[in-house]
Symmetry: C2
Subunit: 569 residues, 2 copies
């Protein structure tokens, strides 16, 4: 596999530069509050959020296939980090920081390896209801974890239930200043989001500019809140001073034995981060008519996370909000992301006291506002309308995220999805076919006006034949046979059978023996090429009491000639 300089560097057009430069400013305006907020969510120091905005973005720009995807701090991986790592270390302590960085590094390495081995298909085990339920459950969980920050109380809990209990218990400790500041920030954000947009609309500003200006809401609120705290002498928790200068690159200082024990969570972070990020890349790609490759995306996201891990960051992923804003601001290539990364580096180096008076509760507001956009009921609604069982998988995953745990939720979701698929294929539809008079077409006798012969029973099996359904099919065929006792030949139509495993082969042999005992011969029709090849090499066809026919009509004609003509209708 060759990995040259990415196309966007080799073929960079000077005319893209102003667009990318403007987009990079938009990205920075979003990255500053999000970096700080998701670091807070992840249980990490504020500078970790800034670090996580730099190297991951640069590495993705070099390795990824999407032109506008913004990889860096994101809500989902931040929440999975805190839930996973807080089980073995206390958030906001040095031991925890090392573990979180190690998780980022390993989840990145795992993705890189899976991508190189072309194992990206593993992510296909995550069905839409599982991913949807997981994201919705996580969004609720993230909002819950921010409630203590909004109220200025300390409260913890690994599950929604424990967290709610702890919040209820500590509610009397509520900080009035925090609560007021949070409410003020909420009102401000909503005012900017809806009021400003209405105002700009009235002023006939282009809609896209209006949408972009609205995205500055978090930064504006951050600046206002910082001023209020600085000059209003509010007693609320603030970020405080950041360490000075660049901390360099290093292997995380972590208990690696402990890290390796967290492998299920690391795998979950790797796969879910990939699925989430890839579907964002795909959505953007459709708009821009470009191609994103799953295996390449997996590797690029792997490198980005390794970069996060080696610079004291935490697991990163693509952010839909930032990527969409980047696109809307006119970004043409990943140069926008690269420029924004250097901008974040400048802030980190200059930073120091920039965020001393930035209140934590306002970051909580930023998180809640960002995450509430992840709450999208459309998939659940569609699932309810389309198939309740898919909706059940969605809700089960959602509830497990809230009340049991994220890794268990994903595992249970995958198992449920697979079980549902097995269940759906384990009791296949079997149809008795008859001839549509005057034609060579044969259809389900229950749905069409058809003519049938008492001596030939034609059954179409609408499913692959494999171990989980072959006994059911056997029993169903025997049941049909009992309803049609004059049958001399049974014709199985295998037009929908794409696969037939060795258990099904044995089942067909048993069925043939049962039929033979009743004086009925077994015929096959419309066998697909690959299935035919395998039946041939197994020797089953040599022992077949009947024959294999190309079409149902050919079979009926052959059987009519072979048997007494007085059976004709």
């Amino acid at each position: 596999m060759k990995w040259p300089l990415p196309g966007w560097i080799r073929h960079y057009h000077a005319r893209h530069l102003p667009h990318d430069a403007i987009a990079s400013i938009t990205l920075m305006v979003l990255l500053i509050p999000q970096g700080l907020a998701y670091a807070l969510l992840a249980g990490m120091p504020p500078q970790a959020g800034l670090y996580a905005s730099i190297f991951p973005a640069l590495l993705y720009a070099l390795a990824g296939s999407s032109a506008t995807l913004s990889v860096g701090p994101a809500a989902l991986p931040a929440m999975m980090t805190v839930i996973t790592v807080s089980a073995v270390a206390t958030p906001f302590t040095p031991a925890y920081f090392g573990l979180a960085a190690a998780v980022a590094l390993l989840s990145g390495l795992l993705r890189l390896v899976l991508g190189v081995l072309r194992f990206g298909f593993m992510a296909n085990l995550l069905s839409q209801p599982v991913v949807g339920g997981f994201i919705a459950g996580s969004a609720f969980m993230i909002i819950l974890t921010q409630v203590p920050n909004l109220l200025g109380i300390p409260a913890h809990g690994d599950t929604a239930w424990l967290l709610l209990l702890d919040i209820a218990r500590r509610l009397p400790m509520l900080s009035r200043d925090s609560l007021l500041l949070s409410l003020g920030a909420f009102v401000m954000v909503l005012l900017i989001r809806y009021g400003l947009q209405a105002l700009l609309h009235a002023l006939k500003t282009p809609a896209s500019l209006g949408q972009l200006l609205v995205k500055t809401a978090p930064v504006i609120v951050m600046i206002l809140a910082t001023l209020v705290v600085r000059f209003g002498h509010l007693s609320v928790k603030t970020i405080g001073p950041l360490p000075q200068g660049w901390q360099g690159m290093a292997l995380p200082d972590a208990d690696w034995g402990l890290v390796l024990h967290m492998w299920p969570a690391i795998l979950a972070i790797a796969l879910l981060g990939f699925v989430d990020s890839f579907s964002i890349a795909q959505t953007l790609a459709i708009k821009r008519r470009e191609n994103v490759s799953p295996d390449r995306e997996l590797m690029a996201l792997g490198l980005a996370n390794m970069g996060a891990g080696l610079t004291g960051g935490f697991p990163v992923s693509a952010s839909f909000g930032r990527s969409a804003a980047n696109e809307m601001a006119g970004a043409k290539t990943q140069l926008a992301g690269v420029l924004a990364a250097f901008g974040m580096l400048a802030i980190l180096l200059a930073g120091g006291n920039l965020f001393v008076y930035l209140p934590v509760c306002v970051l909580g507001v930023t998180i809640v506002m960002a995450v509430s956009q992840m709450l999208d009921g459309s998939l659940l609604k569609l699932s309810f309308r389309y198939d309740r069982r898919d909706a059940f998988v969605y809700l089960a995953t959602l509830l497990m995220v809230l009340f049991i745990g994220v890794v268990q939720a994903i595992l249970a979701g995958v198992v449920l999805s697979l079980a549902l698929f097995i269940w759906r294929t384990s009791q296949p539809h079997l149809a008795r076919l008859g001839r549509i008079p005057g034609t060579e077409h044969y259809r389900n006798v229950l749905r069409y006006q058809t003519e049938t012969r008492p001596d030939i029973l034609i059954i179409r099996v609408d499913e692959n034949l494999y171990f989980a359904n072959i006994r059911f099919v056997q029993a169903s065929v025997i049941h049909f046979l009992r309803q049609h006792p004059k049958t001399r030949s049974l014709l199985l139509v295998l037009s929908s059978v794409n696969m037939l495993d060795v258990s099904a082969l044995q089942g067909l042999q048993t069925l043939q023996a049962e039929l033979q005992a009743q004086g009925v011969s077994l015929h096959l029709a419309e066998v697909k090429g690959p299935v035919m090849d395998k039946l041939q090499q197994s020797g089953f066809l040599d022992k077949l009491t009947g024959s294999v026919h190309l079409s149902i009509h050919a079979a009926v004609q052959a059987l009519s000639h072979a048997e007494a003509p007085d059976f004709m209708i």
Copy 2:
């Protein structure tokens, strides 16, 4: 659910009586050595094997649906008992006896409940390669466990590896008398099996009588061995005296907390015992052209095991050897089994000192000879020829039984079978279709001589569409499209799609958006009824950029009329 007196009692024909009586003697001749031997194998006292031959057989006769199935002590459940229960108690101790009986009771109760709830389908999760690999692995394991008995040494081990090590370590303690007696018994059995049969054949005795006489080999060898030990004063381990009289019926005296912790093993015993027993019943049923119902068999086997558990027995199942002999001896109804059960009761009541001098090593020979008939390589050979991946599942299950554990082996086998099925359906075959000139038939362009149009791309998907393959299908369709850049309409042929889940629905929506971005409309053809109904109710069809057509030909005709005629070939 009504459960009247079984049909064979209500409609008993006097002319069946002599046949059933003769068959019952055959059954007893087999049950005496097998009852004692499988009790030994199960780590139970000899009388437990006799008890396990009485109530289970009577209960099965009342509840089961097969006329000739012999339910009672059997190799597979005996081995699963010793492996499961010896993990928490020492075989041949009272604590162990109570636990084994409790396992029989609970595995019976579980089967009864599963049967009443019509959950018999759970057994369908056990594919043929898993069951075959499990039986072969168990047969090897059972033979290994008898090696210490044959050599007269004590040796234990939960896995083949540990057992072999222990046997090797204790080999110097080998009892010459045991070894000689075992060898003598083997030679005798083989002489009777092959020599007697040849002799009877030469004397022109009917073949079936010969085969029946051969079945008496274990009893003859037992009697001879008892005499040799009694009068030859050999120093070998013998059965010793049995407790006098009937011990009554009681709940097993066991640590129930411990028993409930063994639930995975109990579930495994319940399901495997059922699969094994049901497939024997089915094989017999085919010969006799009778019907066996899975749910009723499950309940009957459940009652039989509850009977075993309440009379101090151990898990029981159908025995293929005994059932076939019963059939061969002319049994017409379950009366044969009932009479044999009363015969066993008589022996138990009279018993006492009957087996004092019966050497344990000869029972070991009986077990080895019986179990070696379970070693049948035909399924493995078929799997190798048919599909190596099925053969891999077989061998993996076999090796796990030997080297890891029976419950883990079944679990891993089920997971492997399911994973294999998911894998097989996750990368479906997609074919581009063309028209066979002069017809309305459309076939794979790679297999047939066809004509195609550059503006219409026809793709047939040969698999259900669901979460694990929809991304693959999406990518494959886009790949086809890139090869045919003049495409204006994409026609997806869904004739093989029996099921389409909500993830696939979303995937089709994404695909349609991708196509739309490239100016290509999406059409569907040959959509099956149930899939069509669901697509309709989801609202997908309202947003379809193309239309749904009944047949490929209808679609092509409609598209030809709609579009510029200069695209025609």
